[in-house]
Amino acid sequence: MKQRMSSPPGGGMIREAMLVMGGYFNPFRVMGGYFNPFRVWGIIPLWIKLFVHRRLPLIPTRIEGREEIGAIRARIKEMEG
């Protein structure tokens, strides 16, 4: 089977959200802005299950030195003009 990575249409926004929220991936915050409303209805039971099983962190984990993430992006922007 041909393997490929998924490339979400909201990639830029997700990236932004991931970085702003402390350098770690936080599914709860990210998926709200990503899903189309039709899909959200179907997937709500899944969110609830995850929440009940303590697997949907509402508060994002913040990594040590997360300001470095912003510095990296700023430097890249500078370099790319």
């Binding site: 089977m1 393997q3 997937i43 039971p45 099983h53 984990t61 790319e80």
Partner: protein, 297 residues
């Protein structure tokens, strides 16, 4: 042996049972994990398609932090494994990109290590460093009679940065045998696509169809549980099972465990230390003969 270990995003959130069980099993096996603070999301798969330079810089930041500890890095996340290995390989062959990444990292006083950092998957470390013989000696409760389907997931072997040798695709089988379990092979679907990032896949139908094949093969072959070495593969098969049942009119109730969870069960580690209650499809009934403490959730 000592290793650098960074709890990944998934192990700190949606698959937190991965971090908990990995630490518990490593302790039982006498593996010393030095936790590397400050690692960011490795970026896969979300950065991967956006900007190579940005993706490389974030992966290189992690590698630079890991290098400080001087040990090989161990991860149980197949995404981190391939992403960091991809970064190592790309930067070692592309001098121009390496120069750019070093320039970016210098802005935060970090250096990309000249020779990269050895990034290893926990499964490979278990086979090559710890060895199955050692695993066997730590087992307190052999999983005799438990029919376990080893599901490797797609990423551990894919994209040219994972387990390249076909013989690596028996590693999981070997660990299961060392635990005393009965391997139920999944010849058609052991590396089947799992849907990538849980909850974020934009190709849901394709993802669900793909996962359906794994579940169908496991059930047809008589598996009682599925074991995966990767938190993403495990999470997808676990949390999407009720949805697959609803959409395709199936009645699957196949517990999907992480490799470290099933190892912990065999090692006699308490279910709470393995976060078994975080599995959406409860494994308690199936595992009851093997659990050190029976507490029904």
């Amino acid at each position: 042996m000592s290793y650098s270990y960074s709890p990944t995003c998934y192990s700190s959130g949606i698959a937190s049972h991965c971090g908990t069980s990995t630490r518990a099993v490593a302790k039982a096996l006498g593996m010393e994990f030095t936790e590397v603070e400050g690692c960011n999301c490795c970026g896969s798969p979300l950065y991967g398609k956006a900007s190579d330079l940005e993706a490389l810089c974030f992966a290189a930041r992690n590698l630079a932090l890991i290098q400080r500890s001087g040990n090989d890095m161990v991860t149980s996340c197949s995404f981190c494994y391939i992403t960091l290995n991809w970064a190592n390989a790309t930067l070692s062959r592309d001098e121009e990109l390496r120069g750019k990444v070093s320039e970016v990292l210098s802005a935060i006083n970090l250096d990309y290590p000249e020779d990269g950092v050895r990034v290893r998957h926990l499964l490979e470390v278990l086979i090559n460093d710890t060895t199955c013989d050692t695993v066997s000696t730590v087992v307190k409760r052999r999983l005799k009679g438990l029919r376990i389907a080893p599901y490797y997931g797609p990423h551990i072997t894919s994209l040219g940065y994972g387990f390249d040798a076909p013989e690596s695709l028996i590693f999981l089988d070997q660990v299961i045998e060392a635990l005393g379990g009965e391997v139920v092979p999944l010849p058609k679907s052991k590396t089947q696509w799992c849907g990538d990032s849980p909850l974020l896949t934009c190709e849901e139908e394709r993802a669900l169809t793909s996962m359906l094949k794994v579940l169908e093969e496991a059930e047809t072959n008589g598996a009682q549980v599925i074991v995966a070495p990767c938190p993403l593969a495990q999470t997808n098969l676990d949390i999407y099972q009720p949805r697959i049942n609803g959409i395709y009119g199936k009645g699957f109730h196949l517990p999907v465990l992480l490799l470290t969870q099933i190892m912990g069960v065999a090692f006699g580690i308490s279910p709470s230390s393995l976060d078994l209650d975080k599995n959406v499809v409860s494994p308690y009934k199936t595992l009851s003969p093997y659990l050190s403490t029976w507490d029904e959730r």
